[in-house]
């Protein structure tokens, strides 16, 4: 498991002009063609090899999680946003326990009485509930289960507002 990322972290990664162009144009426009990196290259005026190298560097720096997809909530399975109010002296241990479930794909500390927030995704709602119940049983702490009622805006990528 990766070590927790504490804030503030080191200075942010400074992308090259090519990397900026790729981040600006392709967060939601992955060309579904046999050679997508060549298609990206053509769009930004670079070579396919330059695009692949630029993306590999972004991935190595941790800026690029992956070239891939995000799925609409509750279409390919079930998910929920969960929150716990964890005593400060137990936070690291409880967070590590939560992160140890492969069904947990985001897990953050937030400034609030409810200080641990995580997303549970699984093939079925029953499995989501089983994970929440197991976490409650193993920590003795209540878990708020906040499944999606209605999406108003799904993840569409991120305007980066370069400086």
């Amino acid at each position: 498991m990766a070590a927790p990322t504490a804030y503030p972290s080191p200075a942010p990664f400074a992308p090259t002009p090519l990397q900026r162009a790729l981040l600006d144009r392709f967060q939601r426009e992955l060309p579904l063609v046999p050679a997508p990196f060549a298609a990206m290259a053509e769009a930004v005026g670079a070579s396919e090899a330059e695009v692949i190298e630029a993306l590999a560097q972004l991935q190595a720096a941790g800026v690029l999680a992956r070239v891939g997809v995000t799925l609409a909530p509750n279409r390919a399975g079930a998910s929920t946003l969960a929150a716990m109010a964890v005593p400060a002296d137990r936070l690291e241990a409880v967070a590590a326990l939560v992160s140890s479930y492969p069904e947990v794909n985001h897990n953050y500390e937030r400034e609030h009485r409810f200080n641990l927030w995580f997303v549970v995704t699984a093939p079925s709602r029953a499995r989501v509930e089983a994970v929440l119940a197991a976490i409650e049983a193993r920590t003795g702490l209540a878990v708020l289960d906040l499944p999606l009622d209605r999406p108003f805006k799904l993840d569409l990528g991120f305007p980066l507002r370069w400086r």
């Binding site: 927790p4 990322t5 804030y7 942010p12 990664f13 790729l22 392709f26 967060q27 939601r28 579904l32 046999p34 990196f37 692949i52 590999a56 972004l58 690029l64 999680a65 992956r66 070239v67 891939g68 997809v69 799925l71 609409a72 909530p73 279409r75 390919a76 399975g77 998910s79 929150a83 137990r90 409880v94 967070a95 326990l97 069904e103 947990v104 794909n105 897990n107 500390e109 937030r110 609030h112 409810f114 995580f118 995704t121 699984a122 093939p123 994970v131 197991a134 193993r138 708020l144 906040l146 009622d149 209605r150 108003f152 805006k153 799904l154 993840d155 990528g157 991120f158 305007p159 400086r163």
Partner: protein, 169 residues
């Protein structure tokens, strides 16, 4: 749209992302016994059906300097929720906006949104401006900044065998 086992396997194989090679869909298909054209056709269908919400570069904001990330939660009267959510969703700097259930008395908020910024003051200014523009400045709310990331990875959609290590925290 019901997902076939083949679609589930394809999405599971994509969890780690495409390999950075000239023909990544062919490489992905080779792992699954599918041809490149079939992989592309299934992904296009899943995107058209809305199962795939977004295909592209999946970015970690924090590594690019966006460290003041706020979850803004509001307690909006039920009969105003649809209009309020629609207005918030139109704000460019709101990256996600969902209605979720209240859990009284512990959790009174039913409208969730995310606002990202580089510095806390900048993010708070933006949150305030958004609430003014959307007419939500008087609604009970909380702003929860994230202070530590324990994990961020792709969601798993394939069945997972049993749980993780079974030791109490």
């Amino acid at each position: 749209m019901a997902l076939s086992p083949a679609d589930r396997a394809l999405l599971a194989a994509l969890e780690e992302g495409l390999p950075l090679v000239p023909r990544p869909f062919a490489a992905l298909g080779a792992r699954l016994g599918l041809g490149e054209a079939e992989v592309l056709a299934r992904l296009a269908a899943l995107r058209a059906a809305g199962v795939i919400n977004r295909a592209g570069l999946i970015v970690r904001h924090r590594e690019l300097g966006f460290r003041a990330n706020a979850m803004v939660v509001l307690d909006v009267p039920d009969d105003e929720l649809q209009a309020a959510g629609t207005r918030l969703a139109r704000e460019p700097s709101v990256s996600l906006c969902y209605a979720r259930p209240r859990r009284p008395p512990l959790w009174p908020y039913n409208l969730f949104s995310m606002v990202h910024g580089r510095e806390r003051r900048e993010t708070l200014r933006e949150v305030h401006a958004i609430l003014m523009r959307t007419g939500l400045e008087a609604v009970p709310r909380a702003v929860l900044f994230s202070t530590r990331r324990f994990i961020q990875r792709a969601a798993r959609y394939a069945p997972i065998e049993a749980g993780a290590a079974e030791t109490p925290a």
